[in-house]
Amino acid sequence: MRRTPRWLSVIAVALVVAAFAGVTATAQPNAIPAPGKVTIAYQPGIGYAPLIVLKQQKALEKQFPNTSFNWQVLGSGAAITNGMISGDIQIGAGGVGPLIVGWAQGVDAKIVAPLSWGDLWLMAKDPAIKTIADLKGKKIAMPGPTSIQAVVLRRMAQLRLGDAHALDSDIVSMDHPIAMQALLSGQIDAHLTAAPYQLQEKVHGAHIVARSYQYFGGHSFVDAWMSQKLYDQYPEFAKAFYNDVAGAIALINKNPLQVSKLLSQDSDGNPTWRQYKQWLAASGLKFTTQPDGLMRFASFMNRIGMVSKVPSSWKDLVLPPVYGTKGS
């Protein structure tokens, strides 16, 4: 029997593959190069609505059919930063606290698409807790000691108690849904949180002790991050992602009813779309791709020793698609 030389068969296979690749390439002339697998991680809360809209509309999946997208919900921005360091997460989303801590420590994560601004409320249930000073020695829940909530708490402590770290030993790390249960059942005394948890807590008898906008002015709440490395490899993919987020934000602002239905669909109908519609209207959230207050947060975190350096400009914290917005 005559054997075909192995190199000949290799060439044959290579030719077939090349021909096939050529066919698919011509079939999709405008295909943007994208990573094969993208894990997108965000946290519980309505501030992440633009991402949930993309997830529910399968916008990315339709645009990049050759990429497998995987959506994850994690309890804190620090957990997401850790996931990005280990390479499990390609696009993460969280508050500016973990982002700036990561940036100062040399983590490769920058804002690829800002998601929302948000007024963060410090909630308490005990009517005796009226001011920041009443919180000494109490248990105050938030996602972690590097979360944006922790930065806000330190600003409150600095202005009201004279020491930014006065309440540090009272911080209890909990993700928002669990902390809400704990606050309402009396296991903790206060919860520095975000929408919709602050709204739900208010409905269930908790009151607002302080609000982040009183201390920082209007500011960015959460953003989607990507590594510079991934951006350099797939700049057009990053740009497309930014445009998709901007589209989702436009939809939230133009048609909150439709978005409420998408959000409710994402949580399997509970809470209802009516509930989400009410939250979107009342939440103190503003959906925009303009990042604001990055430098205010960074320089405050530097002043109180949370980070050892400050970016020279807000643009150090964002990727090129965000340059055009009037950030700060």
Binding site: T146, D168, I171
Partner: protein, 272 residues
């Protein structure tokens, strides 16, 4: 036997003659060398891995500034309270088991149920019962230390030489005095073994509980210190915390070895 095998035989014997401490110290130096070489050669990200030198610096700074001292004190206090309560309850259970049939059955049943249960599995429930505070951690430690101590103690009681108990009975000791004056001293080797095992269980539990717990700041223990360092991405501090835990573990072992040498070895109940 060839010359070569005799030579290796001699070499092996000569190596054995080095004192254990020196052998282990040399091995440790080699391990640290490999660790440093790994960091230097692979250029692994400083966020993922700290070199021995960075770890040593973080360790020194942490102790100098008291950032490691107070968490260590907190962890040791929690552990001491938890193991103390666990040992007390275990003693009561075991004495009851020795005194009565029902007690014995009860102890066997409870041990069968709770001993396979990792202490950490109880923590969520403990947090509901006691709230988010130290009591929940102490309860979890106690629950994970009662059973190893109880098992060791009852094995100790059961293996006491029948001659000893017979002598005790003959001279007319009551059942309780039989426990306190004959059984307990005779079961001391097992008791020390049990406490040693419980200490190890409790040690694992307290660190794990603190990692979950997340009470930050001055009230936190070593687990909390490590977790905070992770959140701030200070990897050398994470390593320094781990080194502290390892050193404390070694210190416990030495303390127990000393305790055994002072008591049961000296009294001829056991050899080293």
């Amino acid at each position: 036997m060839t010359v070569a095998t005799i030579a290796t035989d001699i070499r092996r014997r000569r190596r054995v003659e080095l004192p254990a401490v020196v052998r282990k110290a040399l091995l440790l130096v080699v391990l640290i060398g490999v660790w440093q070489a790994y960091v230097d050669l692979t250029h692994v990200s400083h966020l993922l891995f700290a070199s021995p030198w960075q770890t040593a610096k973080a360790f020194g700074r942490g102790w100098a500034r008291g950032q490691l001292g107070s968490p260590t004190a907190v962890t040791l206090r929690l552990l001491g309270e938890g193991v103390g309560i666990g040992a007390g309850v275990a003693l009561v259970f075991t004495v009851l088991a020795t005194l009565s049939r029902v007690g014995e059955d009860l102890l066997e049943l409870l041990t069968a149920i709770f001993n396979p249960l990792p202490g950490m599995a109880i923590l969520p429930l403990a947090m509901l019962w006691f709230g988010i505070n130290e009591s929940a951690i102490i309860f979890t430690i106690a629950l994970s230390t009662i059973w190893p101590i109880a098992i060791a103690l009852s094995v100790g009681f059961r293996t006491v030489s029948p001659t000893l108990t017979a002598v005790g009975r003959t001279i007319g000791l009551s059942r309780l005095r039989l426990v306190t004056d004959v059984l307990l001293p005779a079961a001391l080797p097992s008791a020390i073994g049990g406490v040693r095992a419980a200490w190890a269980f409790g040690w694992r539990t307290v660190i794990a509980a603190e990692l979950v717990f997340g009470v930050a700041g001055s009230r936190g223990g070593l687990g909390n210190y490590i977790n905070n360092a992770r959140l701030y991405l200070l990897t050398p501090q994470v390593f320094a915390g781990l080194v502290t835990i390892a050193l404390l573990g070694i210190a416990f072992e030495l303390v127990f070895a000393l305790l055994e040498r002072r008591t049961i070895v000296r009294w001829g109940m056991s050899r080293t």
